[in-house]
């Protein structure tokens, strides 16, 4: 079982790293992070915060982009190209296939994040900004957020074409960061329909704003470990649920 899952995961990883899209995104991310250095007319203290903020933001943004673009066609492409016939004709269970794909993409994201983070710290060093490890907490939370988002991408990818899947996943990401506003909307709207929809979205969509602690780490605000642990747990439960739904859909599928 582990051999099969890791086989599929490794293949997914290999596919992604041999794809030009990933390379282009990585190069672009480093360029964006470095560009902060070019924006000069800022006070010294300000500059360091801007570079940190931009760097963390860029890493998150590009990781999300990878999750959405690569994840969005992960399963669908296999169905479209019919490579899935070969995979499922082997003693691979359908849930193993989904889990392998998921873990493969997570590995891709992990390595991408590692590369971007290395680039980020080099930029900090070159700029003479003290590179504190405290910033890594923000990236850890981003990793949990990506765990959820990748599962969302896989779920969509198992039944809609890549472009639709990318759009939907982005929408989930976007609205996921606005869930507090959704609740507000639900409370304030006089219309029962709007109330119903926003409440539904609030409970169904992942609450992603908890994973954004960039402001705190950049401004050296003390973090609340309990809140972080709770967010991590939330991410694991949410991800597991999404994967279970994907597997349930996938098992019923006719190819």
């Amino acid at each position: 079982m582990f051999g099969r899952i890791s086989g599929i995961a490794r293949n997914t990883f290999r596919e992604a790293i041999r794809d030009k899209v990933l390379l282009i995104l990585l190069v672009f991310a480093i360029v964006v992070m470095g560009s902060a250095k070019v924006i000069q007319p800022l006070a010294l203290g300000e500059e360091s915060k801007v570079i940190k903020d931009l760097g963390l933001g860029a890493i998150t943004f590009f990781c999300v982009l990878i999750a959405v673009l690569v994840g969005g066609r992960l399963v669908y492409k296999e169905m479209e190209k019919r490579t899935i016939y070969i995979m499922l004709a082997k003693p691979v269970r359908r849930w193993e296939f989904i889990l392998g794909k998921y873990l493969g993409l997570m590995a891709v994201l992990f390595v991408s994040m590692l590369i971007m983070t290395a680039g980020f710290y080099i930029i900090l060093l070159v700029s003479g900004i003290p590179a504190s490890a405290y910033l890594l907490w923000s990236l850890l939370m981003t990793a949990f957020e990506l765990a959820i988002l990748t599962a969302v991408a896989i779920l969509f990818s198992s039944f809609v074409p890549p472009i639709a899947s990318a759009v939907f996943t982005f929408a989930v990401y976007f609205i996921g960061h606005l869930t507090r506003d959704l609740r507000l909307l639900a409370a304030m709207s006089p219309s029962a329909v709007v109330k119903g929809i926003s409440e539904f979205l609030y409970y169904v969509l992942p609450n992603l704003s908890n994973f954004n602690i960039k402001g705190e780490v950049v401004h050296d605000v003390l973090l609340n470990p309990q809140a972080l642990a709770l967010s991590a747990l939330y991410a694991l439960v949410y991800t597991a649920t999404l994967l279970l739904i994907s597997v349930a859909i996938f098992r019923r599928k006719d190819f």
Partner: protein, 315 residues
């Protein structure tokens, strides 16, 4: 133990209806298909395009579920992962991960099939050699020709040394040399007691290597049997060429025979049985003409096939 007596493939009243398109139009791809394939048989599943061959094979692999009916492969449900360890499958017009090389792909296949790590390398080398893809073993499959992909497909189908090999249009995309090589591979499998089930719309493939064939037309299995049985069920025909006939006898002959074509002073006749041959000979003798050729024509699979298709169309 039960697998020894139970057929390798068994379907009972297998039906598959697709619903497709905007209006969910129904397409009955398989109707009450009943088929048993025994251990060690090489079975050819023959039918025109759209007959339901691929659908049937997808059900055998567990890629698609039947709408109704029963299917057992090696005594179990095709969705059982355990069964897959003993099956090899080549899909129609196979396509693989184009960013992989054949060697990497076969390694992956071996790994997914549960082949022990230390045996993988040897197995992959053997397979690359078997399908003559050693030279391209380390090139990415991007841009491989259809025939090359077909060869890789055959290699991956055999990666686990399967008991049952299921091939969907295995000759597709292969050149004559490739087809000959594949026939040899199939014959080799048969000699080792493996069961081979393959679909095709090319009849000559079947005539050369199958123990038994099933003919499927519009989702119905119209006949199964040994080739010799299927073909002798039909009456043979005899083609007779007569020379030196006078007008009067020619008219007589044209009347008694099924089909006649005149060409110069020769008359080509087609008759259906020995009785008719006797009658023609008697007339020829009486006319003092000469029989210059008498060719018994055995029914070919193609004739049989065409007749069944015409029958199906009339219905």
């Amino acid at each position: 133990m039960s697998t020894l007596v139970e057929p390798v493939i068994r379907t009972v009243k297998l039906c598959k209806t697709y619903r497709s398109g905007f209006r969910m139009k129904r397409v009955q791809a398989l109707s009450d298909l009943e088929l048993d394939v025994g251990k060690g048989e090489t079975f050819g599943f023959v039918g025109p395009n759209g007959a339901g061959k691929t659908t049937f094979i997808k059900i055998l692999i567990g890629l698609t579920s039947p709408t109704s009916g029963e299917v057992r492969v090696l005594g179990k449900s095709p969705r059982d992962a355990q069964v897959k360890t003993k099956i090899g499958f080549l899909p129609e017009s196979p396509y693989f991960y184009e960013y992989l090389t054949p060697s990497e792909f076969l390694h992956l296949s071996a790994r997914l099939s549960g082949i022990p790590g230390q045996d993988v390398e040897v197995r992959v080398r053997y397979l690359l050699k078997l399908v003559r893809m050693e030279d391209a073993a380390h090139a990415q499959m991007r841009g491989f020709s259809r025939g090359m992909l077909q060869r890789i497909g055959i290699a991956q189908a055999l990666v686990n040394d399967p008991e049952l090999v299921i091939l969907d249009e295995p000759m597709g995309g292969l050149d004559p040399v490739g087809r000959k090589e594949l026939r040899d591979i199939i014959i080799g499998l048969r000699e080792r007691g493996k069961t081979v089930f393959f679909s095709t719309h090319i009849l000559s493939d079947v005539e050369m290597i199958c123990d038994r064939v099933g003919i499927v037309i519009r989702g119905r299995l119209v006949n199964t049997g040994r080739l010799s049985e299927i073909l002798t069920e039909e009456v043979e025909s005899v083609e007779i060429t007569v020379k030196g006939l006078t007008g009067k006898f020619r008219k007589v002959l044209e009347k008694v025979t099924q089909q006649s074509i005149r060409s110069g002073d020769s008359l080509f006749l087609t008759v259906r049985n020995e009785e008719e041959v006797e009658r023609v000979m008697a007339i020829v003798r009486e006319a003092r003409a000469k029989i210059s050729a008498l060719v018994p024509r055995r029914k070919t699979l193609e004739d049989y096939f065409m007749a069944r298709i015409r029958e199906a169309e009339r219905k």
